[in-house]
């Protein structure tokens, strides 16, 4: 393995376009690139959880997630890679940044960003990582991906395996997402109802004679609640 790595390092250094994957790199070159991108991803992930600057953490998360997408690409799983970018970088991180901007995340360090659970979090993270690595290594010890042949992770292959072999988990996941969606709607409606109820209660003793005025905010609140729920 080691001599192969060292010889491949010379070829990999000459051809840095790893994501291309059309006859540019020898298989061991892809391995080198995989390792390097993996290191970058790991480093970005570490910075994400250790930096004291909130928005920087979100931006380092982008690097980590993007690095993961490149790893998928190197394993010829093109579809998964782009979905990773689309969902995580394009939507989840944007939502995260939206939240940070809405709460006016300060420029510079936020000393109160540390919750004091540093060691507990580290223990849980190491345990989870160890379990995952162990399971994956144990399960795919003898599996090799032929990087030279037809793409093993093309959209057609992924779709076929998803809807032939893994239909039940797929459907179970969609039910889970539906449940989360319904839960979000219920929560937001409840929050709206509790904020409008005291307002209506406060309005009634002041103006007992004019009944339309306390009714008006309630009538306004219903379509507003629906919009907030979506």
């Amino acid at each position: 393995m080691t001599p192969a790595l060292t010889t491949a390092a010379a070829t990999a250094a000459a051809t840095p376009t790893a994501a291309d994957g059309h006859g540019f790199l020898s298989p061991s070159g892809v391995e080198i690139a995989f390792l390097l991108v993996g290191l970058v991803t790991l480093g970005a992930a570490l910075v994400t959880v250790t930096t004291r600057q909130l928005v920087h953490a979100a931006l380092w998360l982008v690097v980590a997630l993007g690095g993961l997408a490149v790893e998928y690409l190197l394993l010829t799983a093109e579809f998964i890679a782009w979905v990773q970018v689309l969902i995580y970088v394009g939507s989840v991180v944007v939502l995260l940044l939206f939240g940070l901007m809405l709460t006016k995340a300060p420029i510079g360090r936020s000393p109160d960003a540390d919750s004091g659970n540093r060691w507990a979090a580290l223990t849980v993270a190491v345990a989870a990582a160890a379990a995952l690595v162990w399971v994956v290594v144990d399960a795919f010890r003898t599996t090799w991906i032929d990087l030279d042949g037809a793409a093993a992770g093309s959209t057609r292959v992924t779709g076929a395996s998803l809807f032939r072999n893994w239909v039940l988990p797929f459907e179970a996941l969609s039910v889970l997402l539906l449940a989360a969606l319904v839960g979000a709607i219920v929560l937001s409606r409840k929050a709206k109802a509790t904020t409008t109820a005291p307002a209506a209660a406060a309005a009634t003793p002041e103006t007992p004679a004019t009944s339309p005025s306390p009714a008006a905010p309630a009538a306004d609140g219903t379509p507003g609640a629906k919009e907030g729920a979506r």
Partner: protein
């Protein structure tokens, strides 16, 4: 060696297109807006009808001082224009201009997902700029950008998914290969949704709430000067080129045309893209800006249901014709 040369030539061609086409759209916007408003527009720079106006603008931007506000987050502030601009260059790489594998920068298996994913990344640039400027107008602009992206990403994806369903593939050249002329009326709702959602993602009028000059100066780009500001402007025009090109490829048949599709297919692509770019400029001159709540309402109560209906229609027709 031959492979390397081929790849280098393709990259060079895409890069030249990336530099030229946005400038062309920008100059067209100057002239079309001017004529729609009963004036001439730039007439002096370069001699003939002011064709070199944007080159002159570029020289002017390059000469300006590059200012970073004292309270700003320096690195994020300086990185933001690149994050906003580069994704569009990458997207252009995957857009096929003619028939066959020779007329696309890089054939991608999951092309539709690639272009939508990378276009979404471009918005991160605006968010970074909005936050890092240490300016409340910039922050508001960034917030509006994020809200707009979250609202319009979904209908855009659903509309693109409808075409992918119709073609049975998510590769852009593959979609064009299986195109028939009757796809245009079949997918017209999806085309409308995709184009409108794309306009909103680019923050072009009437969806320019994030840069509404009468309310928040210039949104996320308020603090930018010189070349970095020019890069943001370039990103906007590159975005127009990419959006129009994608709408052409996905919904209007790309290089397909009534005649001459084999030899002059690339001309059809460019023509359709140019017409769509004209529509984008036309909308800017014609429509007033949508308010924030109107923006959200349009997406969630009109575009999302329309795109879902389009997917249902696509599925039904697909089953019937099989």
């Amino acid at each position: 060696m031959n492979d390397a040369l081929d790849v280098a030539l393709r990259l060079l061609a895409v890069f030249v297109a990336f530099l030229l086409l946005p400038l062309l759209v920008g100059q067209t916007e100057h002239k079309v807006m001017a004529h729609m408003q009963g004036r001439l527009g730039p007439m002096y720079a370069g001699g003939f009808h002011g064709w070199a106006q944007l080159v002159a603008d570029g020289v002017k931007f390059a000469q300006k001082e590059d200012v970073v506000p004292a309270g700003a987050d320096r690195r994020v502030f300086q990185l933001a224009p690149a994050v906003a601009l580069l994704p569009y260059l990458l997207v252009l790489l995957a857009v096929p201009i003619g028939p066959g594998d020779g007329a696309v920068g890089q054939v991608l298996d999951a092309g539709v997902f690639f272009v939508l994913a990378v276009m979404g990344v471009g918005v991160l640039g605006s968010l970074m700029a909005g936050w890092a400027s240490a300016n409340k107008f910039s922050l508001l602009g960034g917030l509006r950008t994020a809200a707009q992206l979250l609202a319009y990403e979904l209908p855009m994806l659903l509309a693109a998914a409808s075409v992918a369903m119709a073609a049975g593939t998510v590769s852009l050249p593959g979609i064009l290969d299986s195109f028939h002329w009757w796809w245009v009326p079949w997918q017209i709702t999806g085309a409308f949704v995709f184009f409108v959602a794309g306009l909103a993602e680019l923050q072009r009028p009437p969806f320019d709430m994030p840069v509404a000059d009468s309310e928040i100066i210039f949104g996320a780009y308020t603090e930018y000067t010189g070349l970095r500001f020019a890069l943001f402007l370039l990103a906007e025009y590159a975005g127009i080129v990419v959006l129009c090109g994608l709408t052409t490829v996905l919904f209007l048949g790309g290089w397909h045309g009534p005649w001459g599709a084999d030899g002059l297919g690339w001309l059809w692509t460019l023509l359709k893209t140019a017409v769509l770019a004209f529509v984008v400029i036309w909308l800017r001159v014609t429509y007033p800006r949508l308010r924030e709540d109107q923006l959200q309402k349009l997406s969630w109560t009109l575009l999302v249901p329309l795109s879902l209906a389009q997917i249902a229609l696509t599925g039904v027709v697909k089953v019937v014709i099989q």
